[in-house]
């Protein structure tokens, strides 16, 4: 196959993938043990509520792909929600709900080539209840048993 044909084939495959892709996936990884507990569920440990919190981060996508201020899930959880929980003095954020603006690949491509001068608006929103555990232990996974009580010292 000649180079020109290969290039045309690559462009055609790229176009098909772009046009045919109808599912957008974004992920965020929460490192266990680092920082406050973040969960979309409830916890079984006793706690004191510190209040509800909602953080919304707005920005633009330049040329369809460049996220200028960081409005993806990973940035939102690491740089927005986690510092917010720390500032409130919380040990955990429970019942977390979140949303990120997602665009189809074809939309992003359109804003690269023909509409490169128009920035795409993008947004990340997270809501949660911030709590502080009242049983004196450190933050850990909600389903784990608390550490065994220390045996009394014998004097």
């Amino acid at each position: 196959m000649t180079t020109k044909r290969m290039a045309r084939l690559a462009v055609a495959i790229f176009c098909m993938m772009t046009v045919g892709a109808c599912t957008v996936i974004n992920t965020a990884v929460i490192q266990p043990g680092r920082g406050p507990l973040i969960t979309s569920g409830d916890v079984s440990r006793p706690y004191q509520s510190l209040g509800l919190v909602q953080a919304t981060r707005r920005g633009v996508l330049l040329f369809g792909f460049i996220d200028v201020v960081g409005t993806d899930l990973q940035y939102g959880f690491n740089e927005v929600l986690t510092p917010l929980v720390r500032r409130m003095g919380g040990d955990a954020a429970i019942n977390v709900r979140f949303h990120q603006t997602q665009y189809l690949p074809i939309t992003k491509v359109l804003f690269v080539i023909p509409f490169f001068f128009i920035p795409l608006p993008t947004e990340f929103t997270v809501t949660a209840e911030v709590i502080r555990f009242t049983d004196g232990g450190a933050s850990w996974a909600p389903n784990q048993a608390p550490p065994p009580a220390q045996p009394p010292s014998v004097e």
Binding site: V43, G51, L52, V53, Q54, A55, T56, N95, E129
Partner: protein, 164 residues
Amino acid sequence: MRRWARTSLWRRVVRVVEVMRFAGVLGALVALTACTAVVGSSPLSGRPDLSNRMFLSTGGTTRPHRTIGFVQVTGFGNEVAGVIDIGDAQVDSTVRGALADAAVRLGGQGVINIEFLDENPRTPAEKGASFANSVQSTGRHGQPEVENHWRSVVAYGEVIQFTQ
């Protein structure tokens, strides 16, 4: 003399460029931090809840209970010139106020699985722009023309009554 003048001019140019670069970086940093809107509320019920107040939680409850019904509340308000908030578009008044009142009217003792959303929060950058636009337009036309933005906060929950 000419060499001295050229060197002095060049130093001034470099200084101006450095100042502009610094201002640009500072402006970008300010813009980045000004792009996040944070709203919150006062504390809800803890676990265990030892108070006699309405039980409010984004989670469930371990106490035996029966479901009375469901409630959705939307607080509407207005932000004037990016500075003044008028109306009920606050998370606190919507969740701890209107949602709790609705539960009381249904005969409930608590609201569980509360979900809430401030539907159009305003970032510091947007508030600043509203304020600046309002001030400028007032100065230009003589008549006060302030920017208004509709605000709304919605909250949902399940109203319960404890059976023990």
